[in-house]
Symmetry: C2
Subunit: 253 residues, 2 copies
Amino acid sequence: MNTSNPTAAVLVIGDEILSGRTHDTNMRHIATTLGLIGVVVKEARTVCDEQRHIVKAVRELSAAYTYVFTTGGIGPTHDDITADAVAAAFGRSIDVRDDARAILKAWYDAKGVELTEPRLRMARIPEGAELIENRVSGAPGFRLENVHVMAGVPRIMQAMLDTIIPTLKQGARIHAVSLHVEGLKEGDVAGPLKKVAQAMPNIAFGSYPGPVDAPVPFVNLVARSTDEAALANAVIALEDMVAEMGLTGGRST
Amino acid sequence: MNTSNPTAAVLVIGDEILSGRTHDTNMRHIATTLGLIGVVVKEARTVCDEQRHIVKAVRELSAAYTYVFTTGGIGPTHDDITADAVAAAFGRSIDVRDDARAILKAWYDAKGVELTEPRLRMARIPEGAELIENRVSGAPGFRLENVHVMAGVPRIMQAMLDTIIPTLKQGARIHAVSLHVEGLKEGDVAGPLKKVAQAMPNIAFGSYPGPVDAPVPFVNLVARSTDEAALANAVIALEDMVAEMGLTGGRST
């Protein structure tokens, strides 16, 4: 399945994810949300809190995909180095910017909280970047070139992404239908599935076995396409295929 | 914190993860397991089921880190292209190999299941690769150069990883202690935390705020080091720091 959809990469920043201590949920949220407007996430990376690693990933992903979305590393503490790294990736200067400072001041004044020096670090925004509103906790994200820099805390990231979505190019939405087939073995369905896939080159077919300790073994057969009518036919073809094997599948989308 | 520990990258292969439909749990398991023997995961990538993307990622990660661990895309169906892509990344030929075929034949014979042509695809192993035993479902993974190719189904991947672990170079284990501090705000702790971090350059300190909708707001302060005695002092320094702010923290490891 080839599409002309806009593409995207997600860049998750933080040792805490890589160490396995914290489980990232942002990648999945971003992928699902972008999928709704036809922006296809083609790659996700998680890198550690070291500037050279972030700079390298930002440059590579920015060059390879329509959009990049980063999460994490824009808070007030010394290990929050994403803004500086993104500035460095594009050779831009970075400092506390008046527009961001005004946003922070108004936010903390309203809460009666002091705008300390560390909090002011969150107003460090690269030259030429556009601010991304943060309705949850004040400190803005930013967009520089095609890179969107967002917070790591899921609810803040989600709110930022909601404000970004209307600014993105949209593509044809990729629809997916899954057929859950109990009692199916991948080794038995692989041959028939390949034939179905060859007959329908505009549909992407995937096969995903369930856990080995599932009470009833199953395989999920998934068909994806931007063409809903073609997809409906594809699912019928999958159902016919499993029927010939004496099995039935349960659809879900 | 600089260490001379062996480094690793995890490469997750599959459209199903990138679409957000399936949630990857393998990265976290690999990171946690490798951490126990002092192998530090420095990067994780998820790429789609397209050969050129897999080839590029394998080459880059293999060159940059001590070890690479891939998951996914080694089953019997047409969308399982990892083995061929890894062979291509290293310019090796690939075909059904006798040793892998013998393993599959014995496995399926014992189960009374036919070794079909698609199942035989799982015996496609690159020239010069070493097989990785699969005690759960028969079909082996393989190691080529510094790249370990494993299944995507978590229990199979975990069993393969268990057989790989004894073959790896070990590093000093990185210990971590977390201090869960309720009522703390990152903007308030950033200044004191930076001072503690500057005084203890051999400890890596991180600060991770809880969800914005937590009933009681909190921050987790994390210290990491290979030196357990130094780490114990670091945690005491963190406790003293939050005590000066009129707060207390709960330790966990």
